[in-house]
Amino acid sequence: MTGDNSPILKVESLHKKFGDLHVLRGIDLTVNKGDAICLVGSSGSGKSTLLRCINFMEHPTAGKITIDGKVVGRESGTFESAPVYQYKERELIKVRTHVGMVFQQFNLFPHMTVLANVMEGLIQVRKLGKEKAHEIARSNLQRVELWEKAEQYPSRLSGGQQQRVAIARALAMEPDIMLFDEVTSSLDPELVGEVLKSIQDLSKAGMTMVVVTHELGFAYHVAKRVLFLHDGIIHEEGTPDEVLKHPGKERTKAFLAGFTDFNF
């Protein structure tokens, strides 16, 4: 474990290519304990890819990722002057237990009850006994206010409820950092609020998080820092006020303008 002043996550000159498509072109990002960082930007700017590289759903093409003070992978060369790492699946499995992730499509296990969804990782990965797993699952479901749905199957829940279960499932693993990948993008508008509220509560409780979102209001109120991604680089970053209210760069202004056209 790390001291309080060393970052939980450090990303240095991260590159990601899909074939010829160079999606991330050298990203640097430091996340300290308790930080809430929001990534904003238009579709295709690379923000989801960045998030997916952090827990190695995608393997970075190059770049150094340090989680809890430990560099992930073994250096094996360079790409555009950035170090290239090789990863062993065994190591990545371990890394992922420290990094929680919530997806746009919830991805709950449909053949398991809500409770079983949350207990699965505790029993299968953390090897906890049934009772202990049940206790942790219960407290996390209470945290997202869904304990009363514990015995239901996911298909009986609304999208917002499913997403909150997904949050509880990730939290139950007691990760050091949570990643949220456009978690409200596939929800009906009236269900967005309850999910954002759960995330805000988490942040208030001190959970470290990186959030990819189109909800700029949420970013404004919850983020400690906002990063605007464009063309695979961090185009502008700063406090929510700096980036969202007083952007310095034309690209950022143009992006934000798209959101204000229909204000009322």
């Binding site: 990094v99 699965e120 298909s155």
Partner: protein
């Protein structure tokens, strides 16, 4: 048309032959069905794997057994395979190998398609909580996929049970072969083969009923919605 006098009564003393044949048919079917359901998982997962050392042999296996007649496979295992291994093979074993491996090739494709039909988000969600590949397959993917495979398996099981009749060609004493022997002895092919057909129907139709029932049940019971 020739006037023909049906006489099933003549077969009554031979009920034991039919019973013996039916038992062998059931034995063959049960062995072949269970072996192929189990073997199919292994071959199907290898087919799904991105590792070419698993994928390639599995693909070769499936293509060979799907693209040659099961009848040829049975005959090959009976007459050709023993030459290769230098051990004479019982017809029963050759029939199990022929029909069983053929069935395995088909069931493995059902497994592969079923596994592929599961949304990749399920893999990612399991990965995100730190589950390794095989455990994800066993705990998350297969339980959902098998549900979707059941109607296809039911069809395959029926096909497999019918295919066991081909073993008569290598003198395995299953239902059809018992019938052939009787027909040669009694010169009553019409009655005998009619009885054989009816017995096959009686054995296999419950499987069809079972598959209809399963399909209905799965439709009302489908929790797999996203």
């Amino acid at each position: 048309m020739i006037e023909f006098e049906w006489n099933f009564g003549i077969l009554v003393p031979y009920w034991g032959n039919f019973l013996r044949g039916a038992i062998v048919t059931i034995e063959l079917s049960v062995i072949v069905i269970f072996a192929s359901l189990l073997g199919g998982i292994v071959v199907g997962m290898a087919r799904y794997s991105s590792n070419k050392w698993l994928n390639l042999p599995a693909t070769v296996f499936v293509e060979i057994f799907r693209n040659t007649p099961v009848f040829v496979q049975i005959v090959w295992f009976f007459y050709a395979f023993p030459v290769l291994i230098g051990v004479q093979m019982e017809g029963f074993v050759a029939a199990i190998l022929g029909v069983g491996l053929n069935m395995t090739a088909y069931t493995s494709e059902i497994y592969r398609a079923g596994i592929q039909s599961i949304h990749k988000g399920q893999w990612e969600a399991a990965k995100a909580v730190g589950m390794p590949y095989m455990r994800t397959m066993r705990r998350i993917i297969l339980p959902q996929a098998i549900r979707r495979m059941i109607p296809a398996f039911a069809n395959r099981i029926i096909e497999g049970a019918k295919a066991t009749a081909l073993a008569s060609a290598i003198a395995v004493g299953e239902l059809l072969h018992e019938g052939e022997l009787l027909a040669q002895a009694l010169y009553r092919p019409l009655e005998i083969y009619t009885v054989i057909a009816v017995l096959f129907f009686v054995l296999i139709y419950p499987l069809a009923l079972w598959s209809y029932w399963l399909e209905r049940r799965l439709r009302t019971d489908e929790k797999v919605t996203l």
